[in-house]
C-alpha cells in the first residue's frame, strides 16, 4: 500500500470514530440541549420540580388578554396535544403576538398556571412581504428549482 493511501485511510478511520463518538455524546446530552419544554412535556410531568423552566409553544389566537395598565398579560400556549395558561408581568418583545411561537421562562404554580419571568418571541422560517399568502410563498421558488 502506498504511504499516501495509508495516510488517507488513517484520516478517514479517525473521522469515522470521531463522528460516532460525537453521535453518542450528543444522544446522551439530548435532554440537556433542549432549550425549552413543550406544553405536552409539562403536563406529562417531564419537567424538573421546583425549578424555573422554559416552555415554548404557539400563542393561541384569541387567548391573549392584557390588564388595564397593559403591564400584565395572560395567554395560552398550545402544541399538538396540550395547552398551558401563562401569566406574565412585564414588557414583551415586538414579535410576540397571537398565532406566533414564543418561549416563556418561569415556574408552574399550584393551579397549573405558568408564572413567567421572561418572554421571548420566536419567529418562524417564513420570510415574505406583508400581505403575501402562504400558498403563494410555497409556489414562488420551488417551481424554479424544479425546472433547473
Amino acid at each position: 500500500m502506498k504511504a499516501r493511501t495509508k495516510r488517507g485511510m488513517y484520516v478517514i478511520l479517525c473521522a469515522m470514530i470521531l463522528s460516532m463518538a460525537a453521535f453518542f455524546a450528543l444522544r446522551a446530552f439530548q435532554n440537556n440541549l433542549l432549550y425549552f419544554y413543550t406544553p405536552t412535556q409539562v403536563l406529562a410531568g417531564e419537567i424538573p420540580a421546583q425549578r424555573s423552566i422554559r416552555v415554548g409553544g404557539m400563542v393561541k389566537s384569541g387567548s391573549l388578554t392584557r390588564s388595564e395598565d397593559g403591564m400584565e398579560i395572560r395567554f395560552v400556549f398550545y402544541d399538538e396535544n396540550q395547552t398551558l395558561p401563562v401569566y406574565y408581568r412585564g414588557i414583551v418583545p415586538d414579535l410576540f403576538r397571537e398565532g406566533q411561537g414564543a418561549i416563556a421562562q418561569g415556574r408552574i404554580n399550584e393551579n397549573g398556571i405558568m408564572v413567567a419571568e421572561q418572554i421571548l418571541a420566536k419567529h418562524d422560517e417564513r420570510y415574505m412581504p406583508p400581505g403575501m399568502e402562504d400558498s403563494k410563498l410555497k409556489n414562488e421558488v420551488a417551481p424554479i428549482l424544479r425546472n433547473l
Binding site: 499516501r4 439530548q30 433542549l34 425549552f36 421571548l120 420566536k122 422560517e125 415574505m128 403575501m132 410555497k138
Partner: protein
C-alpha cells in the same frame, strides 16, 4: 504514467505558480466582489420588501445569513485543504488552510454579532444558550483554536499537521450546527432556504440574499488568495524563486 491533467494539477499546486496567479487575480476578485457587494447592499436595503412579521428589521438578515453560511463553508474549505495537506503532503494545502482560518473566524464573529443585534428587537434577548447559538460559538472557538495551535508550535511543519488535526476534529461541529435547529428545540428558527420542501422565503428577498452570498464568496476568495501569498512568503522565505520575484517588484 502521468497524464496531462496530473501535470497541470501539479503545476497549479506548486507554490511559485500559485503565487504568481494569486497575486494577479486577487485585485480583480476584490473589485468584482466590491461591485456585487454594493449592488447587493442597495438591493437589500432599498429594493427588497419589509417582512410580514418583522418589518424593516428583517434587513439584518442580508448580512447575518450570508456571514453564517460563509462561517460554515470556509471551515469546510479550511479542513478540506488541511486534509489534502496531511494526506498528499501538499504544502499549498496547509497554506490555503491557514489563510482560510482568520477569514472564517471573522465571518463567525460577524454572524454572532449581527445575530445578537437582530435578536434583541425580535426575540427580546441579545443572547440565549440554545443549540444553534451555542454550536456557532463553539465554531468561533474552533477557529481560534486552530489559529492558536498554528502559532503555538515553533516547528512550522509540525504546527501545520497538528492544526490540521484540530481542523478535522472540529469538522464534526459543522453538521451539528446545520441540524441543531432540527434536532433540538431552539429559539432560533429552522432553515428557510436549505429545506426539504423548498425555500420558505419570497423570491424578492431570496435574490438579494443570494447576491450578497455571492459577494461574500468572491471577497473571501480575494482575501484568501492574498493571505495565501503572505503565508507563502513567510514560509518559503529565502527560496530562490521567491527572491527573484521579490527583486522584480
Amino acid at each position: 504514467m502521468i497524464d496531462a491533467g496530473t501535470i497541470q494539477a501539479r503545476k497549479w499546486l506548486s507554490p511559485p505558480f500559485f503565487f504568481d496567479k494569486a497575486l494577479k487575480w486577487a485585485p480583480w476578485c476584490l473589485l468584482t466582489g466590491m461591485v456585487i457587494f454594493i449592488a447587493a447592499l442597495w438591493w437589500a436595503l432599498f429594493k427588497s420588501p419589509p417582512d410580514y412579521l418583522q418589518g424593516e428589521s428583517v434587513r439584518i438578515m442580508y448580512l447575518h445569513v450570508p456571514s453564517a453560511w460563509m462561517s460554515l463553508f470556509l471551515y469546510v474549505v479550511m479542513a478540506g485543504c488541511a486534509a489534502c495537506g496531511l494526506i498528499f503532503r501538499l504544502k499549498i494545502g496547509f497554506y490555503l488552510s491557514a489563510a482560510c482560518a482568520p477569514i472564517g473566524a471573522a465571518f463567525t464573529l460577524a454572524a454572532l454579532v449581527t445575530g445578537s443585534i437582530w435578536g434583541k428587537p425580535t426575540w427580546g434577548a441579545w443572547w440565549v444558550w440554545d443549540a444553534r447559538l451555542t454550536t456557532e460559538l463553539i465554531l468561533f472557538f474552533l477557529y481560534l483554536g486552530y489559529i492558536g495551535v498554528r502559532s503555538a508550535v515553533d516547528d512550522q511543519n509540525k504546527a501545520d499537521r497538528l492544526a490540521a488535526v484540530v481542523a478535522l476534529v472540529g469538522l464534526i461541529n459543522i453538521p451539528i450546527i446545520h441540524f441543531s435547529v432540527h434536532f433540538w428545540n431552539t429559539l432560533h428558527q429552522g432553515a428557510s432556504v436549505f429545506r426539504m420542501d423548498g425555500p420558505s422565503i419570497a423570491i424578492s428577498m431570496l435574490i438579494p440574499l443570494l447576491l450578497m452570498t455571492l459577494a461574500y464568496m468572491i471577497l473571501s476568495l480575494a482575501a484568501c488568495l492574498e493571505s495565501t501569498c503572505c503565508e507563502i512568503m513567510r514560509r518559503e522565505h529565502g527560496r530562490r524563486w521567491l527572491q527573484s520575484r521579490l527583486d522584480m517588484h
